[in-house]
Symmetry: C2
């Protein structure tokens, strides 16, 4: 489905498949009155997005119990191809040992070194995806 001349809307399954491999995603939160975006290294476990943060950081506080946005994308500016997926849902701190074990199996490693012992889970409620489409002549 074309949502305008340059973007094709992906169906939810297709969009979710692009999220599944994990990697770098961006978390959108509100800190007081201000929006903020933080990149994280994430995995998908049991249908949820999971990442680690350090206790005491802004990201940790903002995702402890909130509704957040999570975005992944991949673009090639030269070829003018690419896609993005936006996930919105409740985030929460996870203390579940079974979930932590599943994450270890899934190979979640934070990008930054240090004591990233807070585990955050986002349960997707809205999943939307877009892909760049181009006419033959640009």
């Amino acid at each position: 489905m074309l949502i305008d001349e340059g973007l094709e809307l992906l169906d939810e399954d297709e969009a979710w498949r692009l999220v599944l491999p994990g990697g770098v995603g961006r978390v959108g939160v509100t800190i007081g009155p201000l929006p903020a975006i933080f990149p994280v290294n994430y995995v998908v476990v049991d249908g949820a997005i999971a990442f680690r943060t350090s206790p005491g950081t802004k990201l940790s506080a903002a995702t402890a119990r909130a509704t957040v946005a999570f975005e992944v994308d991949d673009f090639d500016l030269v070829a003018r191809t690419g896609w993005s997926v936006l996930v919105v849902g409740p985030s929460e701190r996870v203390l579940d040992a079974k979930f932590s074990d599943a994450l270890r199996v899934a190979g979640l490693a934070p990008m930054a070194a240090g004591a990233r012992v807070d585990l955050v889970r986002i349960r997707p409620e809205l999943i939307t995806g877009r892909r760049l489409v181009h006419a033959a002549v640009l």
Copy 2:
């Protein structure tokens, strides 16, 4: 300055220098009660971030007059290196012909085809940057 064991805080000048070249950035907005993140192709003109959207889209509406987050980053997951910069400031629709001319000179092209005639400007008020740092042994 190390903000924790794995992240170094960049000073504002250093962070802004990473934003200056333009490319793909992500805009964080609030749509009703929900956060959202949209990737855009941007340039920096006259100290402001500029990008194009299509009239009638969620991104266009959400950035017409708001305080938004804007994030750029670059990570190498294999080398475990990378940085991110977060800019927060007011966004507005731009109708200024001089600004449009400056954008053409700066070579702003939207990633998607189509009638991306809305021009949006974000004036940076907060600029923060982080860089991954690692101990010799991981």
